[in-house]
């Protein structure tokens, strides 16, 4: 039962992704093509350089035209607009993002896929850690709030949630950096490694040191919303008949709260958590830039500053893929947590 559900979701998501890539390709077609043409021109010029010794000027010109025609054909630039969009979309789906204009990967490569791919683990590291801690603190706090609703802890933390609601995480980051990095130099200003990188055990711990401030910022802003949502969901679950029934059966309060209540509230809490995590992807973009954290978000900054369109596009395609995977993950987790989906039956 569950597996059917999983397969259906995956199929749906794949379908959606294909549509989105087509939309992207259509939207950015002109720009991409300008870049590709420029790259082709450059490439052909290089090839011509190798041939100048051998050929006459007339022969060179013909050579240039031949080569250009070859490349145009290869990249389908000689076809009308719809097929062009189609081919572009297809190559994007195959993860063939072409070469960058300027940016190079750590190994000096210009393949966009490599450039973007090496940033992925860093973004994942930062944001999964932050989310995990967020959820942990948020859910526990939320449960505490739900147990004594309307009392001091609940009210005060709710007010803080509202205060923090409209605060851009990157602005808080700026202030914290100004304070802790420049005024009181506790933390490093950014990046993943110190320059020069330390050796031995310190080399392993060094990224953690760099991770500290961004992680702290994310968590300090993030868990309030989680707590508020958990509190609401748990509060509404606590009013259900089966909770009263569990108490009537003489079960220990601990079991009732953390077992029956939390477990029943888990599906909507998971949904809310993952959804807000996904929406924080946007904030995360800017956030990485502020900390020069070398992840996908920071790559956007760099690509914009250097006007490197292929990298932007490739990054966008992969970001969307991750975003979608997040949505699928959400559905799968929800399905696992809620037996009504996991073991479908007569409701």
């Amino acid at each position: 039962m569950y597996w059917k559900y999983v397969l259906r979701r995956l199929a749906s998501v794949l379908f959606t992704y294909v549509i989105i890539i087509f939309i992207y390709s259509a939207l950015f077609n002109t720009v991409m093509e300008t870049t590709i043409r420029a790259q082709i021109d450059e490439q052909v010029k290089q090839e011509m350089l190798l041939q100048t010794q051998i050929m006459s000027p007339a022969g060179l010109k013909q050579y240039q035209e031949e080569r250009l025609a070859l490349y145009y054909k290869r990249y389908h630039l000689d076809e009308p607009i719809l097929p062009r969009i189609f081919w572009r979309a297809l190559s994007t789906l195959k993860f063939d993002f072409g070469n960058s204009t300027i940016i190079r990967s750590a190994a000096g490569e210009r393949k966009v896929l490599t450039i973007v791919a090496e940033k992925i683990p860093r973004t994942v590291l930062l944001f999964t850690l932050a989310t995990a801690i967020d959820i942990l603190i948020g859910v526990l706090l939320g449960m505490k709030k739900a147990q004594k609703p309307g009392k001091f802890l609940d009210q005060s933390t709710s007010i803080i949630t509202m205060i923090v609601y409209g605060m851009p995480t990157w602005w808080v980051a700026m202030i914290l950096i100004m304070l802790f990095v420049y005024k009181i130099g506790i933390f490093p200003s950014g990046g993943l490694h110190s320059i020069p990188p330390p050796t031995g055990l310190a080399y392993v711990l060094d990224p953690l040191y760099h991770l500290a401030l961004p992680l702290l910022t994310l968590v300090v802003i993030g868990f309030w919303g989680r707590a508020y949502l958990t509190r609401n969901i748990v509060l509404s679950t606590l009013q259900e008949d089966y909770i009263m029934a569990a108490r009537a059966r003489g079960l220990a309060e601990r079991k009732v709260l953390y077992g029956h209540t939390l477990r029943s509230a888990a599906p909507p809490i998971a949904t809310m958590s993952i959804l807000s995590l996904l929406s924080s992807v946007s904030g995360g973009l800017i956030f990485e830039g502020i900390f020069s954290w070398p992840g996908m978000g920071n790559l956007y900054w760099v690509a914009i500053q250097q006007n490197d369109i292929p990298v932007l596009m490739g990054n966008l395609a992969l970001t969307t893929l991750f975003y979608l995977s997040g949505l699928v993950l959400l559905d799968l987790i929800y399905g696992m947590l809620d037996p009504r989906i996991k073991v479908g039956g007569k409701a």
């Binding site: 259900e240 008949d241 089966y242 909770i243 009263m244 029934a245 569990a246 108490r247 009537a248 059966r249 003489g250 079960l251 220990a252 309060e253 079991k255 077992g259 029956h260 477990r263 029943s264 888990a266 947590l337 809620d338 037996p339 009504r340 073991v343 039956g345 007569k346 409701a347």
Partner: protein, 322 residues
Amino acid sequence: MEKLEIKNVKLHYYTSKGIIRALDGLSFDLRAGESLGVVGESGCGKTTLGTALLNMPTPPGRIVGGEILINGLDLLKLSENELRKQIRWEKMAMVFQGAMNCLTPVYTIQKQMMETILSHRKMSKEEAEARIRKYLNLVGLSADVLRRYPHELSGGMKQRIVIATALFLEPQVVICDEPTTALDVVVQAQIINLLKQLKQKLKLSFIFITHDLATEAEVADRIMVMYAGKAVEIGTNQQIYGPQGAAHPYTKLLMAATPRLHQKVDQLAFIPGTPPDLLTPPTGCRFHLRCPQVMTRCRQEEPSLIEIEPAHTVACWRCYHE
């Protein structure tokens, strides 16, 4: 158990609109091995009674007075911990209304039943499982249901599970709160029969709460009629349903309002007026505004339960005079 005595219990709900006096001085007893039926209209306090007996008033309710003595031990004076360990499910268990929603949807039946047994008794898993199967059998279910989730089961099956769960610790008193209301008639009959069998076999004491007079007639040895948070008449099955009929005007009207299969009915009888507002209950006898036999005294003084024949008490000035 020997005796369950409820003495002058008051349960009030403290809402933002005022204090709702849901139970306002309720008194009755339950003897070993008997089943007491509690009847009344919606809003008379029947369900509140169920939660009060386990000392679990639904917030914002609070028990503000009276005693609930089980073999002389006052429940209302026990701490939450003591209640959990000694009373709930040990001495008293509850079969809930609308078995729809009293089983946690995310746990299997097995987990829920095991959890309940093992919370109360030190047993090995095998012993616990054996006990569970025994009681499932008793209610007519196979052990298959154990690995199912509540949403996979029908209403009747869930009700049986709830009954089995209530019984398997062999409590002394079982409170059934509208156990058949949400079920169709056929299943209803099955459940009623089941309860009658169990009562015989296990020699349990029941408190059977319902608004359905017909079911009550089947199962109850004694009946208590409630109105507006108070008991207005308590008598044996025979006394209330028998040929002489009930004494209290309210009970009489209730009976009249139930259509009989073999009677020709031109017009449905009903009780005029609406149930009283428990925020500001009427003075004197709470029924006086709707009573066809009201006297001056009824408006001024509240009657208490007075015995008019052995084992038959009524709270009515009219009955007292007669």
